[in-house]
């Protein structure tokens, strides 16, 4: 177990930037888990007397146009960010992995399924998500589905490619000629060998889900306004940018740093998969 941990932890620890990224992601998790204890105010507590206060004093990062505490809303916003990320990754993997693997194992079915993926990919991603929101209606769960659909396609493509390659490996051939059924081959040979590329894909999908959700929020088609989200905070502060420019910086920074940290982690994991790099760190 320790050895396995080392293989994964080493490339991450080798780069100080990646370590900083992981630290930031942990901070978000702590924010989300302990929001009520960390946030000094309720995220939706309206205080008209103290609206648009600059940072400092009783409100660490100031207040918005309703007098709500910016810091508290940021802390609670991390909950939605994690929910969106986990939701989109789960949806993309739960749909993309079976589609990709089945397409690789059963070429006739694969022709149909991958053709459908191609069709979905011919839609520009943001328009695909917007179209789905129009059909499903606005809301957090629907935003997850809409963004997840975009990454279903890329995940299915990647899984299909890897599964095709694995299918041709001698040990899979051997298992098949020894009479192993498809379930055995998938769970014992294909899935375990796919974990690295899937982890990489998951971290990138998690990162881009943040940006996609922020775009939907900004267009007013994402999370409903009563849920504190970083995207909504930016959308709402937009008309006050000249009067209260400090409202713009924090939610934006949270989105950027979350996406950036996840990209750093994904990049480090990808390098770990590269055999040349593995040789460098001694397996």
């Amino acid at each position: 177990m320790r050895q396995i941990l080392m293989i994964w932890a080493r490339p991450l620890a080798l780069r100080p930037m990646t370590a900083i990224g992981i630290a930031f992601l942990l901070l978000i998790v702590v924010f989300a888990a302990a929001s009520p204890w960390i946030a000094p105010y309720s995220p939706n507590e309206i205080d008209p007397v103290n609206r648009l206060l600059p940072p400092g004093g009783a409100h660490l990062l100031g207040t918005d146009h309703f007098g709500r505490d910016t810091f508290s809303r940021l802390v609670y916003g991390s909950r939605l960010a994690l929910l969106i990320g986990v939701g989109v990754v789960t949806f993309a993997l739960a749909s993309g992995v079976p589609i990709g693997i089945l397409s690789a194992l059963y070429p006739t079915l694969g022709k149909v399924l991958m053709r459908m993926v191609d069709v979905l990919m011919s839609f520009p991603s943001l328009l695909l998500a917007l179209g789905l929101i129009v059909i499903l209606g606005q809301g957090v769960f629907n935003a997850i589905l809409a963004i997840g659909l975009i990454y279903l396609t890329t995940t299915a493509r990647i899984v299909y490619g890897v599964a095709l390659r694995l299918k041709a490996e001698p040990y899979v051939e051997a298992a098949r000629s020894a009479g192993a059924g498809p379930w055995w081959i998938i769970t014992r040979h294909i899935l375990p060998n796919m974990i690295s590329p899937l982890l990489v894909q998951a971290s990138f999908v998690f990162a881009f889900a943040q940006l996609g959700a922020a775009s939907l929020d900004f267009l007013g088609l994402g999370a409903p306004p009563e849920i504190p989200s970083w995207g909504n905070m930016l959308a709402e502060s937009r008309i006050y940018i000249t009067r209260a420019s400090w409202l713009l910086i924090w939610p934006g920074l949270m989105i950027v740093l979350t996406a950036f940290s996840l990209n750093l982690v994904g990049d480090a994991l990808r390098d770990r998969m590269d055999p040349r790099f593995r040789k460098m760190v001694g397996k």
Binding site: P124, I133, L211, A214, F218, L234, S245
Partner: protein
């Protein structure tokens, strides 16, 4: 080559037909009667019947699709409920803004992404490379509307150098000077995409640098600068240039957000407004046109790629 062209074009047409079915189905997947949803609660039965008749919603589904697709082939995408004009006119009204915005954005992307990507590749593994690659990853993590809001805050509201919103046509008063309205939006839109081209250029350069003919060139004693320019760069750019095509197509749809931030009268903002207005024929029309453009660009890229690089043998 001839057979390849036919097969590749056939595949593109098949994808377009499938995509058009999805776009057609869209209006029927919306919960509730689309006519009531579009007209609102105050609609009289006469209005409902008239619109239902105009959109042919009483025909069987297959007939409806064939009529819709047939009209689309003849350039008729239906009527906008809100504007009460043909959808094609609504799209054409936003086309100038969207296309110019995408073109100017491409200029930034190419001017920044390609040279910086080459620099990072030449200095692979050094501090310069790590810094530039880190910068690219940071740019790719930034929401375009956030960049846009800061550009407005600094260059429009603060310094007053550039206009913050709107775009008067270059054919109106002001002429080409009106392009200044597109500078800030194009910079915001370019940020994440330039980062992608930077990474692609770097990766492509490093890929080619491992080729046998590069080693041969070096072994022959050719000057390193000449190896980079003649042997690596020329071949590496092929992959990069082919990415320009779909980057351009992607820009038109990514501009949805940018056009909203800068209140530009483009196709993207029309889509967002049409969603709010429940003007479904416009949404359908815009998506169909953009998907079409995307497929055509991809087809051209694939065919010219094959023409330029005879080694590319696709099944």
């Amino acid at each position: 080559m001839g057979r390849y062209v036919i097969r590749r074009t056939g595949a593109a047409i098949a994808t377009l037909i499938a995509a058009s079915i999805v776009i057609f189905a869209f209006i029927h997947l919306i919960p509730g009667d689309p006519v009531y949803v579009m007209l609102g609660d105050g609609a009289t039965p006469d209005q409902v019947a008239a619109l239902r008749d105009k959109m042919g919603l009483d025909e069987p589904l297959v007939a409806q699709y064939l009529i819709w697709a047939g009209n689309a082939l003849q350039g008729d995408l239906g009527q906008s409920i809100f504007f009460e004009t043909p959808v094609t006119q609504v799209i054409l009204a936003g086309a100038e803004t969207s296309i110019l915005l995408a073109l100017i954005t491409m200029v930034w992307i190419i001017a920044f992404g390609v040279p910086v990507g080459i620099l990072a590749a030449i200095r692979q593994g050094t501090m310069i490379d790590q810094g530039l690659s880190g910068l690219a990853m940071l740019l790719a993590s930034v929401p375009t509307f956030w960049v846009g809001l800061y550009l407005i805050l600094i260059f429009a509201a603060g310094l007053g150098w550039l206009p913050s919103s709107g775009y008067p046509s270059i054919f109106e008063q002001g002429g080409l000077a009106n392009l200044s309205y597109l500078i800030l939006p194009s910079l915001a839109l370019a940020a994440p995409n330039a980062a992608l081209i930077l990474r692609l250029t770097r990766a492509s350069m490093l890929d080619v640098a491992r080729e046998d003919y590069v080693r041969t060139a070096r072994a022959k004693g050719i000057r390193p600068s000449r190896v980079v320019l003649r042997h690596i760069l020329r071949n590496a750019l092929l992959a990069v240039v082919s990415a320009f095509g779909f980057t351009f197509a992607a820009l038109i749809s990514e501009a949805v957000v940018t056009e909203t931030v800068f209140a530009l009268p483009g196709v993207g903002r029309t889509v967002v407004q049409s969603i709010m207005r429940r003007d479904y024929p416009v949404i359908q029309g815009v998506i169909l046109v953009i998907v079409c453009m995307f497929l055509v660009i991809n087809l051209i890229v694939d065919l010219s790629y094959r023409l330029l690089d005879p080694r590319v043998e696709l099944e």
